[in-house]
């Protein structure tokens, strides 16, 4: 047996294991539970995270020494595919597992790792990310939240925005400005902030789809131990950049997530009389093509990455899926409107408001985590080597 064949068998066995385990364990009562952030649903999601932890599935990508399985990208993607296929609940502590944990492993002190990693793994402490500010969107380095050092503490003042999970997170992984006189990209520091500190106020943002999944976080003389600094003081920009590559990267979103959406388009097309209509078929086919492209782009990136880390090519990933997702929802809006106008089965009509809410969210994805305009700049300059803009 060649090594390659052995590897293939290993992956197939892994898929079978996960598929079986998930089908036996996913809590059916959490499927479709809304809103995902109600206290009651949150408690059940925490319980589910503990089940994952107890079975060793909480963080398969973390090194064994920190309680993970040390699995590479191919295994992670299979886990993700099966997780989405099983309609398992959205992971509660994404920022902790994907962003904070790996960042602490890379930049943290031994004390920080022993303090924070285990509670992330067990979902005892949920994390949010505090990067964006009102005046610092695409231009992240323009952030203004200030941290003055007073003795062994920072005193932090400012405002974060677009913070998902801020209403229930226990900790925030934040960027603050510790040196107002340094050049823009210097003087930024990464700190870990206890969300229960005095002086923190969280105000959920009502979005255009009526949901309140993001929040503003106001910080008013919030005290944070200097010991909570990640990396060097003033080196927060580099810490953040290595973290953002993780955020944009592979492994958090598989093509399987899009299969239910394709399925809904299919139902809508059939229900609104498009089953034999070439224009509708071409449109459906186009979405199938896009989802396949996304699938194989991810597969290729994983096949080419030996160490599970990804370069600026990750920008393709984010750009592609966000545009693909927006296009799928756009088609669905048309088909839902058509089905409504001509009258259709109640099961589909009931889906329309949900589809619409997700439609608006899908358009937001073209902006968050670095707008698609920024991604195109990154591709042009770092992948294609085109010269930088005059500034």
């Amino acid at each position: 047996m060649t090594t390659e064949t052995a590897a293939a068998k290993d992956l197939a066995a892994w898929r079978a294991e996960i598929r079986q385990w998930l089908s036996a364990n996913v809590p059916r009562d959490l499927v479709g539970a809304r809103p995902l952030t109600s206290p009651e649903v949150l408690e059940r999601r925490r319980a589910w995270e503990r089940v994952l932890y107890d079975n060793g599935y909480a963080a398969i990508h973390w090194p064994v020494e920190y309680g993970g399985k040390g699995m590479g990208a191919a295994h992670r993607m299979i886990f993700q595919e099966e997780y989405e296929r099983a309609s398992a609940p959205p992971r509660l502590n994404i920022q902790g597992l994907m962003l904070v944990g790996p960042t602490l492993m890379q930049h943290g002190t031994p004390e920080q790792r022993s303090r924070w990693l285990q509670p992330i793994l067990r979902c005892e402490e949920v994390w949010c990310q505090g990067f964006s500010e009102p005046e610092a969107g695409s231009d992240l380095a323009a952030l203004r939240t200030s941290a003055r050092v007073v003795g062994d503490r920072y005193v932090i003042n400012g405002q974060k925005i677009w913070t998902s999970g801020a209403t229930y997170a226990d900790w925030m992984f934040a960027l603050v400005r510790t040196d107002p006189d340094a050049p823009k990209h210097r003087g930024i520091t990464a700190v870990l902030i206890d969300m229960r500190s005095p002086g923190i106020e969280v105000r959920p943002i009502r979005q255009i789809n009526g949901r309140r999944t993001f929040a503003e976080v106001f910080l008013d003389d919030v005290e944070v131990p200097v010991a909570n600094t990640v990396g060097e003081m003033g080196d927060g920009w580099n810490v953040a950049m290595s973290a953002l590559v993780l955020e944009r990267g592979i492994g958090r979103r598989s093509y399987v997530k899009y299969l239910p959406l394709l399925q809904e388009l299919r139902h809508l097309a059939i229900a609104s009389g498009g089953a034999d209509d070439s224009a509708t078929l071409e449109e459906l086919g186009w979405h199938v093509m896009q989802v396949c492209r996304y699938r194989h782009h991810v597969g290729r990136t994983i096949a080419e990455s030996s160490d599970g880390r990804f370069g600026p090519e990750a920008s393709l990933n984010k750009l592609f899926w966000s545009e693909m997702e927006a296009a799928i929802y756009e088609t669905g809006m048309r088909l839902h409107a058509l089905a409504t106008a001509t009258g259709t089965e109640p099961a589909l009509s009931e889906r329309y408001p949900l589809w619409e809410a997700d439609y608006w969210h899908a358009r937001a994805t073209r902006i968050f985590a670095g707008s698609n305009q920024i991604q195109r700049n990154i591709i042009a300059e770092r992948v294609l080597g085109m010269p930088k803009e005059k500034r």
Partner: protein
Amino acid sequence: MTLSYGSDATSTELAAGLSDVLSAKCDLDHVRRVWSEGEFDRSLWDEVSSLSFWGALIPEADGGLGVRSEDVVRSLEEFGYSGASLPLTETVAVVVPTIHRFADDEMRDRLLPGLLSGASVSTAAVMPGGTVALFADVADVALVAAEDGLYVLERDQFTVEPVHSPDPTSRLGRIKPRPDAFTPHARLGEGALDEARLRAVWATAAVLNGVSRRMLDLTVEHTKQREQFGRAIGTFQAVKHLAADAWVAVESSRPCSWYAAYAHQEGLPDAAVAASVAMASASDAARLVGDSALQLHGGIGFTWEHPLHFWLKRGKLLEHSYGSRQFHLRTLGVAIRDEQAGSEALFADV
């Protein structure tokens, strides 16, 4: 009569009159309130009624203003621009002129006074295969298409089942006629259905162009104010080109609804093609403009607090009202398949 593309005096004056009322009474706070409270905006309806606007397209002798179809187009754009939530399009452009022309004397005498004064609210469900209408639940009078023509139903002759729409203030609902509603007496004369459809299509195209203009204006303003990387984002070429393409889309769409109204008024052979062109291009533009507007606003455009979404959602509703882009493109495709490209049924001389 020559085609002025909205630049003549009648058109401008009528639009200015409406625009004065709308800008005075329907500012952003008002729009936000209407969206929050969920009630029909009766106070604004009454304001517009006081302009004698509803009879714009019927003769002065019959209590109207006697202007020509293309002269209301600019007003319809202003309405779309304002963000007002009223069955304005349906009343002024569809119901009043269609009843005026196709109803018998008894029905005209009974219904027109209330429609002209604003005492009655009206709507229209006139597209093939559908009985969904805007403002259905507050309508006293509804034009409803059936297989054999167009019917006028009054409030006690139908019930309304609310249906979902991206724009709840437009009160989309399914009109369910009572079993005895489709009486011969309620049926309008021959040609009423085609006429009502044409009217609904070019008029909605005009409103949608107004919606697009507002989104574009909000966006351009934002790109001049919002700074990133030490400069207004409007200085970036990528931002400029999105805005420029949006402007091209809407400004190349607007004259199409002006022409469609004119072709309809004059009975030109390309009136049906012109209406479909107007609506398909308005939908194209609204989608492109809305897309770029949301993208260029960045995060702030996704907040309920920012007004952009009122127009985004209105646009999304109108894109699929009175025939989707696809519906109208197919109509145009069939038209050119069945007629030579040089035929006056596609491109009439003017």
